[in-house]
Amino acid sequence: MIWGGVLLLAAVLIGIPLGVVLTGTTVALGMVTGFLALLGVHARSAAVLTVAVACGLLQELAALMQAGQPPALWSAVLFGIVVYLLLDIGAFAARFHGVAVEARVWRMQVRYWGGTAVLFGLTALAVGLLAAASARPFTGPLLLHGLAVVAAVVVVGAAFGAIRAWHHEGEAW
């Protein structure tokens, strides 16, 4: 079951660069990534899955370079979340393969992965917006730029605080 989820995430990891641009290089790198992901799932190895993720990063870079498009914020955030989830879920599945895992553990892990994916995604989005705001030529009033920076910092801090609060209220998970 969990390995099925890992394979699904690997498919998304391969699909995002292919969605950016479909060339021979991205397809070839996608095939290598897919092969490594399948190998990792078959061998129940988190290390091989990490290599597959690294290959996926190269595929994403190749796609971005070949497309030559301006930075796509949402696509980058989605790709980052998929990378994180693939690494985390893959490591969990490999570590607890063959172990009798209580149903409550599964429920909590799924909620944790869901919650962190949303929070980390929002934080990455905020960082992206901050980067975009900083990269723009200085044309508008200074107050607007200042507010953008403060808003990004607040979002990052709020995300971190929410995670800490979640952790301490273990019963609420």
């Binding site: 930075p71 980052g80 607890f96 063959g98 172990v99 895992v101 980067a131 995670i163 273990g170």
Partner: protein, 426 residues
């Protein structure tokens, strides 16, 4: 407690570094953003993982068992604080196997929650082992930090050889002086009728045979046979062992010895034990359940200690090998030294029963089936048959037992042999 970083930290760090490097090198902010969730996961994982406190207890349903018995292990974990993920493992000795449940489990506990973790084990072979060495890993929710602990709650367990109830066993040729289950040729107190003789002063009135007294016009009394026990010494061959850890000749010999010991102890006989091998061990004959427990403990420790030295049975004290005892030698008959020891005993006028456990079937079960191995085993079986025939011609009582044969059947065949009956008769 040992705290260490999990491999997940290095994986996240590696991917984040790669993404940052590629992003900076190729001037793509997209890849820099890809690294953000991984870096955040690292930051959160290192910041929010805290130590958890708990108590653990370990219980075993039985500590004294026989081969084939199933017992239950119960581990109770009481969380004093919230534990996001607790991984627990109990390594098992090779002499037990899991029947139900798992010996490696993961739990998530809230503060004050109690979890009972049970699994059933089957004892595969005789051994002594200690359960209760628990390895615990406390994972944070993010899985970045691991706290490793080891709990020692020792539960010593003993798995004794399996005992096959024997309704019939070889009757010892001589009885001893203590009360037992055998009808002795000597006359005295008992319930088995022996003879009628004239009344003598001192005879009890209840022994008068009134019918004979009226017919013979004189008082006559009944005589009875005494009921006495016997001495049996089990001589176990610990010189060699053939087979696999799960099926080997030594374990089979030990099972036979345990079954015979139980059969004779139940009949109130004195049972002794000699483990003849590289390490010479013995237990002087005794009666009762406590002595049977001592016998089982000795049999549990029986193991092959390789040695070139041939031990002389003269080393055995006389009280361990009492005169007129029935000696049952249990051996696969692989090492000639054991055969010489048995011949030595016979030369000292002991009644020796040679019960041999066939090593051919045990070896056949271990080796790969092939025409050459099959032919070798058949030749070996023929050689053994010739060897046993020679021993029978020398006057030994020889019984052969193979694992698939019921043990009682071996003793049933003995009673059908006329010459054996003559030797075993009172």
């Amino acid at each position: 407690m040992r705290v260490r970083l999990s491999a997940q930290v290095y994986r996240l760090l590696a991917i984040a570094t790669l993404a940052l490097f590629l992003g900076v090198a190729c001037a793509r902010v997209d890849l820099v953003l890809v690294a953000v969730p991984c870096l955040l996961a690292l930051l959160v994982g290192m910041a929010v993982d805290t130590a958890a406190t708990y108590a653990v207890t370990h219980q075993v349903s039985q500590t004294r068992l026989f081969e084939g018995d199933v017992f239950t292990v119960t581990v109770t974990i009481v969380a004093h604080s919230t534990i996001p993920l607790l991984e627990i493992l109990e390594p098992l000795p090779p002499s037990v196997e899991v029947v139900a449940g798992h010996t490696h489990a993961a739990f998530s506990l809230t503060a004050g929650q109690t979890v009972q973790w049970c699994y059933s084990l089957r004892c595969v072979r005789r051994s002594r082992f200690t359960l209760g060495h628990l390895y615990v890993r406390l994972h944070g929710r993010a899985g970045c930090l691991m706290r490793e602990l080891q709990h020692d709650i020792p539960q010593p367990c003993a798995v004794y050889p399996r005992i096959v109830p024997l309704r019939r066993a070889v009757r010892p040729p001589h009885t001893q002086v203590y009360i037992g289950s055998y009808v002795s040729p000597a006359q005295g107190e008992g319930i088995e009728f022996g003879n009628i003789r004239p009344f003598a002063p001192g005879d009890q009135i209840k022994r008068l045979n009134w019918r004979a007294s009226l017919r013979l016009h004189d008082l006559h009394v009944n005589d009875y046979h005494q009921e006495r026990n016997a001495d049996v010494v089990l001589m176990l061959d610990t010189l060699t062992n053939v087979g696999s850890p799960t099926l080997n000749t030594l374990d089979l010999c030990v099972r036979v010895a345990a079954s015979l010991a139980w059969a004779y102890v139940r009949r109130k006989d004195r049972v002794g034990l000699i483990a003849y091998g590289g390490a010479f061990r013995w237990l002087k004959p005794g009666v009762g359940r406590a002595h049977f427990q001592r016998l089982l403990d000795q049999l549990l420790e029986a193991t092959v200690v390789f040695s070139y030295v041939t031990r002389d049975l003269a080393l055995v004290p006389k009280r361990v090998l009492p005169p007129q005892a029935l000696v049952i030698a249990i051996s696969p008959l692989i090492d000639e030294r054991f055969l010489h020891a048995v011949q030595d005993l016979r030369a000292r006028a002991f009644t020796v029963l040679l019960l041999t456990v066939s090593p051919v079937e045990v070896t056949r079960a271990v080796v790969q089936p092939s025409p050459v191995n099959d032919l070798t085993c058949r030749l070996w079986a023929l050689e053994r048959e010739a060897q046993l025939n020679t021993l029978q011609q020398q006057g030994f009582m020889v019984l052969e037992w193979s694992p698939e044969m019921p043990l009682e059947l071996v003793f049933a065949t003995l009673t059908q042999r006329r010459h054996v009956r003559r030797r075993v008769a009172r």
